[in-house]
């Protein structure tokens, strides 16, 4: 069965790009525009094998989202990758403490994205 | 030159050099031809909506899958005798400078391969006959085919004249 990835980003172009890359690589993709939407989709029964979340989002930011996900029974151990920029080292630490599995530093290209995913997604 | 063009060239080599396909149709006893690449489709005659205050050769407009397409009667345009439309009357839909237009003709006859060397320039017929929209004359077996320069037949200038005539 195809693996499902939940992509959370308020930026449509980023989401499109990430989703497109993932779909090309054979993943199922669920999209959400911010943390709130992502939480709602998870509560609705979405069962992603991986979450990719931007940190900087309106309504509910990435750090809060990661904390929320870790409180969910079903997603306690789901790998979460956060999208960061190179200047946000402190944010990265904060994300890890909140429960993020890893990170991808923007800008990245599709290959790098897939490499990082490969790192955290059980084969 | 791009690979794509090279492909086009390849494809065209397979066809005989200097030969083009023409869709031919009848108007009375005369045979006319238009470059087949310009023909979008051929459809039976159906009821048209007349456009007010336009010359008689513009028969009206037709709904072609949601597009409003003007229809021209070539007989009227060429000042030939008018005939009743019958079940054989057809409309040849052509593309003229990004526009879609239809021409009412008596019947569609054939698709002919005509070689460039068989095409003669339109003869000078004196002032009485306008030959500006004829790209050439060719022989096909026993028949004479008048090849139409479709852009000229239905030019913008023509339409502008229509507009000025109205004023």
């Amino acid at each position: 069965m195809d693996k499902t990835v939940l992509v959370v980003d308020d930026s449509v172009s980023m989401r499109q790009m990430v989703a497109f890359t993932l779909k090309e690589a054979g993943f199922e993709v669920i999209e959400a525009g911010d943390g709130k939407e992502a939480v709602a989709k998870l509560n609705d029964g979405a069962k992603p094998n991986l979450v990719i979340a931007d940190l900087n989002m309106p309504n509910m930011d990435g750090i809060t989202l990661i904390k929320e996900i870790r409180t969910m029974r079903a997603h306690k151990f789901t790998p979460i990758l956060m999208l960061t920029t190179e200047s946000a080292e402190a944010k990265k630490k904060e994300g890890q403490t909140a429960g993020a599995t890893g990170w991808i530093v923007k800008p990245f290209n599709p290959d790098q994205l897939l490499q990082v995913i490969n790192k955290v997604l059980p084969g | 030159m791009t690979i794509e063009t090279a492909n086009i060239v390849d494809q065209q080599i397979s066809q005989k050099e200097d030969e083009d396909q023409y869709l031919t149709f009848m108007l009375g006893e005369e045979l006319y031809g238009v470059d087949i690449l310009r023909v979008q489709e051929i459809k039976g005659y159906s009821k048209l909506t007349r456009i007010p205050n336009t010359p008689a050769f513009i028969k009206g407009v037709l709904n072609l899958r949601g597009a409003i397409v003007p229809i021209i009667d070539l007989r009227i345009k060429f000042t030939m005798e008018q005939v009743e439309y019958t079940m054989f009357t057809v409309i040849v839909v052509v593309v003229v400078r990004d526009r879609i237009m239809g021409m009412v003709v008596d019947t569609v006859s054939d698709v002919l391969f005509i070689s460039g060397k068989d095409i003669q320039p339109p003869p000078a017929l004196g002032r009485k006959v306008d030959v500006s929209f004829i790209s050439g004359i060719a022989r096909s077996g026993e028949n004479l085919v008048t090849l139409l320069d479709i852009d000229r037949v239905l030019t913008d200038e023509e339409m502008e004249q229509v507009a000025t005539a109205q004023e």
Partner: protein, 722 residues
């Protein structure tokens, strides 16, 4: 995998322009509410998003500028500097630079690189200022980039196969972070061969004290690999920070194997020959100039005739042009996924109904007529709903047009030395995207007029007992099937005497001609009329109110004005919600049907004989409540054979356009319906008196009447006197 990112660029640009708007509006509001942290956060987020995304698409200049803006914004956010007018000004300037850079990235426009450099320097100065303060105060340092790796015994990378020993004591919360040690071993295995894997369970507590979600284990791996340590280390990227990790080379490394060949990049043959000194650059160029195009070669070899080549080249050119046109003309609308989901559901239902009907027709018997009718009804319901939903996709809040105005008014106020506040309401009012785009210019003009000429300078306002700060109100709301937009200022109002004097001077009004109030105000909409005493570079560009009026009318709308001298002016615009669909009345003339737009219809009457009058023998009018309205016999104007030639037998449809009323004579009113406007010009040309065409239920085409056009046509072109 090679993925072309350019297809997402359009979205990026759209998104960026939204972020730019957010920053602009935010900065303008911030000037008044400097303590609003949420607002500041919004602005920061928008800048941050542009920065992050521009990098993805390789627009470095955009990224660099936004990065500097972001830093200043961050400083504001962390209370390291204060929101001042100067900072807002600088950020707004930077934003202008950013807009131009985005345009350039998009492939149009130019950017003043010098100016942008200056702005960037200034931004840096602010940022550095705060950093210096921070240092002086001994506060926390700016974040130091930490890309450092685990302390790995740094030795030159040895690309030979050897046995590397890895000792890893992971953080206890490994699992809670979604990390999987198995995955790490898999990744290690992909780098070579795992020789031994030793589990160390020393940390494992007694069973009762054990927490199943804590990782107590640690591992020692012996990996046989030729990969450099850096790559092995990278496997632990996500776990390194809290783990204990040592990666060690074997004590006696084996001699390095053969050197890896550095791959030469792809080079052209000529370049290599030049490099190796076999030929000179000049020789190469001479030879290259002898190269022929493929077309020429084919012709020379008699493979293909010159005509074919010309044709192929033409086709190539055509394809290029088409491709270019397609690239250039893409405009897009962002649509909420919920709207799309609903449409998809609807299409699903439509398909089901369709297949049910297909089934029905295959085995149809007459007793199934009621069933068929039911299905047809269902189909109708679905398609109507679908039409409404699709139309709603084109509907956007007018905010997209309004949001540029606060900045404009601010700039105009500063420029004119005035104090002006812009109050906007009804920004969420929805209307067609095309209408929104087309209304921007007229609105810009009206607001500029108000700011430049309407609102008085402060001293004048004080002298008149008005508040120093002038107000421009911009409002939008729905009314019936229309949208109304008003632009109102509390300025000096229109000057009756000045307008009249100017009109006389321009010969628009004859001396002594009696004019009503409404007519005088309408004068300002005449071509060539402008009362601006001083021409400003913003509104004195020769584009007058006549253009405003024409633009609005071309959208099927109207514009009116109310003014009180000394108290202000109010412009009122009325627009249809959409250009694609109109409410129409179908009328019949002879055997032909025409559609009259419902907006222009006032009433319809069947006149009695004594209501019909003629003036000077031929001008025909109908008398309606002491008003004489000229009659246009449509069958006459359009040369149609009508059923009735006597108005008493037919119907008169009273219509109004541009302040003129006329009565259109038709045979019969058929009914009212919504029609989709189709262009007649796309494949044909503009026909006077017709606004376009539509397709009726039976598939036939019917024309939509252009009421203003009919009036002028009747005035100029026919025997009917108006």
């Amino acid at each position: 995998m090679a993925i072309d990112l350019s297809r997402f660029q359009e979205t990026f640009f759209e998104e960026s322009s939204e972020h730019v708007e957010t920053i602009e509006t935010g900065l303008l509001q911030l000037e008044h509410r400097p303590e609003d942290l949420e607002l500041l956060n919004q602005v920061f987020r928008a800048a941050h998003s542009i920065k992050g995304n521009s990098g993805m698409f390789g627009f470095t200049a955009v990224g660099e500028l936004t990065h500097k803006m972001e830093n200043v914004l961050d400083g504001l956010r962390n209370n390291e500097m204060e929101v001042t007018e100067q900072i807002i000004d600088l950020l707004l300037q930077a934003l202008d630079g950013l807009k131009s850079l985005l345009e350039v990235a998009r492939g149009s426009g130019t950017a003043d690189e010098e100016a942008i450099k200056t702005i960037e320097t200034k931004l840096l100065a602010y940022q550095n200022g705060t950093e210096r303060e921070r240092l002086e105060a001994g506060g926390p340092r700016a974040e130091v980039q930490d890309k450092g790796a685990t302390p790995v015994a740094e030795r030159p990378a040895v690309p030979a196969r050897r046995l590397v020993t890895i000792m890893w004591v992971p953080l206890p919360e490994l699992f809670q972070r979604g990390l999987d040690p198995g995955r790490i071993f898999q990744e290690l295995a992909s780098l070579g061969r795992i020789h031994t894997l030793t589990v160390n369970a020393d940390r494992l507590p007694d069973l009762p004290a054990m927490d199943a979600e804590v990782c107590y284990l640690s591992w020692t791996v012996e990996l046989e690999t030729e990969k450099p340590l850096k790559e092995i280390d990278a496997v632990f990227d996500f776990v390194r920070d809290e783990s204990e990790l040592t990666i060690a080379e074997p004590s006696a490394p084996q001699p390095p194997a053969s050197q890896e060949m550095g791959e030469d990049e792809h080079k052209r043959l000529g370049e290599i020959l030049v490099e190796e000194g076999e030929i000179t650059q000049a020789q190469l160029e001479t030879s290259l100039s002898k190269q022929k195009r493929i077309g020429e070669i084919l012709v020379e070899d008699h493979e293909v005739g010159p005509r074919k080549i010309t044709k192929a080249l033409e086709k190539q050119h055509r394809l290029d042009t088409v491709a270019r046109a397609q690239r250039g003309e893409t405009t897009s609308i962002r649509v909420g996924t919920d709207k799309i989901d609903k449409l998809i559901n609807l299409v699903g239902e439509l398909v089901i109904t369709q297949s049910m009907m297909a089934n029905l027709t295959q085995t149809f018997t007459m007793d199934q007529v009621p069933l068929l009718q039911e299905r047809v009804l269902e189909l109708e319901r679905h398609s109507r709903e679908m039409q409404e939903r699709v139309m709603s996709i084109r509907m956007l809040p007018i905010r997209t047009a309004f949001r540029r105005f606060p900045r404009m008014v601010r700039d105009l106020a500063i420029k004119n030395g005035k104090q002006i506040q812009l109050v906007m309401s009804g920004e969420e009012t929805q209307l067609d995207k095309t209408v929104i785009e087309a209304i921007i210019d007229p609105l810009t003009h009206l607001i500029r007029n108000s700011a430049d000429h309407g609102i008085e300078p402060p001293e004048e306002r004080v002298a008149r007992g008005k508040p120093v700060q002038g107000t421009i109100k911009l409002d939008a709301f729905h009314e019936g099937g229309n949208i109304r937009i008003t632009v109102e200022d509390d300025g000096q109002g229109l000057n009756w005497d000045k307008i009249l004097a100017k009109a006389k001077q321009l010969g628009m009004v004859a001396e002594g001609e009696p004019l009503g109030k409404k007519e005088v105000w309408q004068l300002i909409f005449r071509p060539g009329f402008s009362t601006a005493e001083k021409v400003t570079d913003l509104s004195g560009r020769g584009v007058g109110m006549d253009v405003v009026k024409r633009n609005i009318e071309s959208l099927g709308g109207t514009v009116g004005v109310q003014t009180r001298e000394g108290q202000g002016t109010k412009f009122m615009i009325k627009l249809p919600l959409t250009l694609a669909i109109i409410e129409g009345m179908t009328v019949r003339i002879g055997r032909e049907g025409y559609i009259v737009p419902l907006v222009s219809i006032i009433e319809s009457v069947r006149p009695t004989k004594d209501m019909m009058k003629t003036i000077v023998g031929k001008g025909e009018v109908v008398s309606l409540r002491n008003m004489f309205v000229p009659v246009i016999r449509l069958y006459d104007l359009f040369a149609i054979e009508a059923e009735f030639t006597n108005p008493v037998q037919g119907v008169l449809v009273l219509v109004e356009a541009e302040g003129t009323k006329v009565a259109l004579m038709v045979d019969e009113l058929v009914g009212q319906q919504q029609v989709v406007i189709k262009s007649l010009e796309k494949n044909f040309q503009k026909v006077e008196g017709l606004a376009g065409a539509t397709i009726l239920g039976n598939g036939e085409v019917a024309f939509i009447l252009d009421v203003p056009g009919l009036i002028s046509l009747a005035k100029n072109g026919s025997s009917v006197l108006v």
